[in-house]
Each structure stands twice: as structure tokens, then as C-alpha cells.
């Protein structure tokens, strides 16, 4: 059975449009996938203000976005590469500013921010989409508020807690 990660790697390999000669298909995908993942994480860090983002969740977000609107996803990746935002470092304010200049890409960037903070998304009038339960459980909003997600027991009795 094809795992979601494999699907993702396949998707981004295709989206990156580069298959390196001399490598097995899997290795080719991995080689292509790493830069995309790094690019996405770099942008996500800049957008969210958090450095230690969940890489597995990032993979799911990427899969979702790439499958939903491949053209816009490719445009974002392409633009980010052009801006030299690859690697593990933060994408900088210049990247944010450049994306702001493109209505389409800025809308996508906002959606990515929302995915990280809430765990779900809604594009236009479409039915809202949740990526998976982890998106809610690890939504950054909970880290900002320093709370366990609602629906997860905090590990102490309410009667004895202090606000």
C-alpha cells in the first residue's frame, strides 16, 4: 500500500519537474522531495513564527495543497526557489513581502498559516477540509495559548486548578 508520505514524495517530485538521471525512482523522489519539504518548512516558519514545526504534519499539508491545486502549488514552489528561500533557514521578510505582491500566492500563504494555526482550511466556498486529527491536536494556536487542545484532558483536576 502506498503511504501518504510516498504519495507526497511522488507528488512533489512531479511538481518539482526534475528527475535526476542514474538514480532509482525512489531515490529520485527523495532527492527531489527534500528541497520541497525544506522550502515549505522555511516558508511555514516565517509565516507562523514557530521554528520547531511538525515535519509529518508538513508532509500532509503539502500533499493536500499539491493535490488540490497543483498549478498554484507549483507556482508557489517555483517562486520560493527563485527567492532562494530553500534550505533550513528561515525564509525572510523579503520572501513574505514578495508573496504579498501576488494575490494568488499570498492567498495560498495565508491558507498555509491557517492550516498550521487551526489544522483545517476552507478554500473559497468549498466544503471545509481537515487534514487529519493531528492538525487540530497540534494546531499552533494551542501553543500560543499554552493550553492542551480542547478535548484533550489537561492532566489535573479542574476543581484544583488555578486559572
Amino acid at each position: 500500500m502506498l503511504s501518504r508520505r510516498r504519495v507526497l514524495e511522488g507528488t512533489v517530485a512531479i511538481s518539482a519537474g526534475c528527475v535526476l538521471p542514474g538514480l532509482s525512482a525512489g531515490a529520485t523522489e527523495l532527492a527531489a522531495a527534500r528541497p520541497d519539504r525544506a522550502v515549505f518548512l522555511g516558508l511555514s516558519r516565517a509565516l507562523t513564527g514557530f521554528d520547531d514545526l511538525n515535519e509529518e504534519l508538513a508532509a500532509h499539508f503539502m500533499t493536500y495543497l499539491a493535490e488540490r491545486d497543483p498549478e498554484r502549488w507549483r507556482a508557489l514552489m517555483s517562486r520560493l526557489r527563485t527567492l532562494d528561500a530553500s534550505g533550513d533557514a528561515h525564509a525572510g521578510p523579503a520572501t513574505i513581502k514578495a508573496l504579498e505582491a501576488s494575490e494568488d500566492l499570498w492567498a495560498l500563504a495565508k491558507e498555509i498559516t491557517g492550516l498550521w494555526y487551526s489544522g483545517w482550511t476552507q478554500a473559497g466556498d468549498e466544503v471545509p477540509q481537515a487534514i487529519r486529527a493531528e492538525g487540530y491536536r497540534e494546531a499552533l494556536a494551542w501553543r500560543v495559548l499554552a493550553l492542551t487542545p480542547r478535548g484533550v484532558a489537561p492532566g489535573r483536576l479542574w476543581q484544583q486548578a488555578e486559572d
Binding site: S118, L145, R150, A153
Partner: protein, 534 residues
Amino acid sequence: MEQFDVVIVGAGVAGGLTADALAQRGHRVLVLEAGPDEQDRDALREIYFATPQKGFDSPYRNPAQAPKPTRTPVNDYYVQKGPAQFGSTYERRVGGTTWHWHGLTPRLMPADFRMRSTYGVGLDWPISYDDLEPWYLAAEHEMGVTGDSADDHGSPRSGDFPYPAQRQSALDLAIKAALRGKRVRDVELDVTAHRAARNPEICQGSGSCMPLCPTGAKYEAVTHLNRARAMGAVVRPKSVASRIVVTENGDVSSILYKTWDGEERAVAGKVFVLAANAMETPRLLLLSAAAGGPPVANRSGQVGRNLMDHPLQLSFAVAADPFTLYTGPQSTSVIKAFRDGPWRRSEAAFRIEIFNTGGGAFGGPDRAVARLIDQGLTGTALRAALADAAGRELLLVGEAEQLPDPENRIVLSASERDGLGLPRPEIHYAYDDYTTRGLAAIREVQGFVFDQMGASRVFHLPQILGSGHIMGTTRMGDDPASSVVNTDLQCHDHPNLFIVGSGVYPTGATANPTLTIAAFALRLADHLHKGRLR
């Protein structure tokens, strides 16, 4: 044909407590439940977490054979004929709506039973508060209710709560301090802890009483259904009651039900108890007549009429200072001053619940997140802005009284059917001036509370929502010409058919109905044990 002492339709709080009390006393009990029996809390929680826009119904599936109304999003199970939309929903599953309820358990007040004689509106109940009081106390102990026994909230008590009052949140206490000595509409306000069926020795304030408590601290009817099973009762899920069969002498001989595969079966009993809530119980009664037989329990023509709710007015504001929100039981305190008073001659009474949830009763601070992102904030600026904004989101929820109106009713849809081919409920529903004035009073009082706190940007939601408190469609009364059941909850027309639930309410008052439903169930079980099942 299978034969039981008691056949109960509906495995919610009413059916669960009735089944348990009778099984404990040695009676052979069958509970038919239309929905599934799915009690894996962790699995339900995963479904809930993976649902994007969260609501009461999110963790619980909606099978075609036993469909339910949903609110997030609103579905088409109800065939709504207006003019107002009926917004209350429920669960069809073993445990019923106690899976997604809030756990609040106020009692009715003495005047709630005497609306006609006290205020000249509605009608008087054929029983008094004193008749029900011992059963309230018993229900509080069965369900494990928290409360300050020294403060009766205007509902006199013959005994103590099993648990002390639940701790109020910092927000509750701030509002209490802001309101100290203040009056609005000539009434002094106070902020008191809810009575709630939340075990304080388990409750972690997980922020998710609705729709699913992760620790099981909140009372759920599966407690009693599982206990009844251990005593020999049969709880049969995926069994959709479709027809009550009546003999020529007026007794009920059997109930027909459909399995999810569409197979029709029959079961006989000495006594039949309808406990399928104030929507599905009248639907079943109407289905029975529509199937070709005579009208069932409907000599009065009142089955399905007098549908009531506690219409909700939500009000939002932005606090001057941030609080720790989005944690704790979703609401820990009530402003109860307007539950009873002379204004009830002309406008609805109401309660106000203070929510610890920030701007949304479910999930995370998604509205604030969306707003701040839309403003273009990113990175550390977004983090700081969200931390500040989410702590300032205030939500007050007012729940208004509604008087019985025979034109507010549920009938069978002539054209729309469910997955088993049974007609869906068609709803005719409106708010009268009495309730409309009460909703306006709620806005005034909730606005006053915000003002006293120094809050800003007050916003009253234009849409009036349902509270989930479905009442009145099989009313209780002494006169068979104007009511469906008598004071023993026995159908006037059928000596061995009983109805238990908030459908028997003659008037709606302001108390969340579950505790009263539970009191009725315990009272009915006692009555049956000492009477027809002796």
C-alpha cells in the same frame, strides 16, 4: 413473538434511567434504540478532531437508517416549514444526546408549574414542584450533580447534592465582581456556579463537555444502560421502532421495529415506554396511525403540537483585559436572576450562561486566527496578537422561555423519507411576541454585563439558535381532550403505554431539561414497579 415485561423505545437518559431502575428490581426489560452502540471514546474523539468546523454532532455519525438533525453544518433531516428555523438537534445512538450535552442540571422552579395561575400565561402543570422534588433529589444522586446545597436557587431542596459546587472560572469571578451591587431592569444580578452532572473527582476541565468529554466526568446515559445490561436488560441498537400496535380494548400489544437491514420484527410486552425524545416520540405515534391503524395516543389531537425550545441569543464582546479562555468546562456559571419574576406576565424568562470558551463553543480560536491572518499578520507578530485576542473573547448565551403554541408542531412529511422509508419530521415553528420580547431583554442584559466589565465591540448574533431542549409535543394534563398523558405519564388512550421525557412538559420554563427528564424517569419506574408490573 419475543415477550418482555417492559419495552422501552429510546436509549437516552429517559430510557436509560427507566431501564436501569426496572432491571434493578428484577423486571425483564428491552430497550430498542434506532442508532448504533458506539462507546469507544478515543475513536469518537479522533473523528471529532479530524472534523474541520466542530459542533455538537461532529463525533457522531449520521446513518441513513437512523438519521438525525445536525447543526454543523445544518442538514435537511427536518423538513422545515418555518417561518422560523427549528435549530435544536439530538443524537440517535445508545446513550442518546447525553453524549453531546453540556451537563447542566438546574431544577425547574415552583412557579414554572403554575404559569397560568401565577402570571396568566401558558397553563398550569397538573403536578407541582413538590410532587417532583423527591425525584429531583434522587436524579441528582443518580447522575452525580455538583452544587452548593445551602443555596437552592429558588428550588427548595429536601437533601444535599452528592458533590460540592464546581469551581467557577476566573472569568466568572471577574464578571461577578463587576456586577456586585448592580441592577438592570430593576433586578440585582449575581453569578453563581452551575448545577452540573460533572464528577469533580474526574473532571479536568478539558473544554469539551460538548460534544464529547474525554474523561467521562460528565454524566452519560450509557452509565445506566450498561448497568441495566449487567442486570439482564437487553439494549438492542440499530432497531428503529416504526409502529405501535393497539388492540381493540386500547392496550398496546406490540411494537414493530425495523433492523438496519430493513427487516421488520415485532416485540410484545406488558408495558411500553416511549423515551425517544420530544421529536422522535411524537413521530413514532404519528407513524403508527399513518401505517393504517387508528390514531395512537392522539384523541386530543395534541401529539406533535406545542413544540418548544429555549431559543438562544448569543452575544459577543471584547474584554478590556485578557483571561485564560479555551479551557475548563465550557461554562461554569449562570446568571439566573431572570428565571422567575413578574415580567413573565408579558415576556419570556431567561437564563444567561457565561462561556469559558472564547468566541466559539467548540474547537480552537479559529475566528481570531482567521481575522488576524486576514489582516496580514505573520510570524511573531501573529503569535503575540493571537495570544492577546483569544483571551479577550467574551461569549454570553441567553436561553429564553417559550410558551406552548399548538401551531408550533411536528408532523410527518408527506414527501420526504429517511433511509428506511419512514417519513421525516416536518416542522412548523415560530417565535411569538412573548419570546421575542424575552430575547430583546436578553440582549439588553447581556449588553449591560459587558458594559459593567468595560468590554467593547458588543455584537448580538442576529440568528437565534436552538438550545437542544426539545419540549412539549406529548403534553401532560388531567383532561384527555387536551393532553396526551396523565400525571403518571400514562397515555390517556392506552393503559399500558407511557411516555417519558421533556415531551410531556405543558410549558417550557428556563431549566435545561435533562434533570427533569431523569426525575420523571425514576418516578415512572417506581410507579410501574408498584403498579402495573407488580
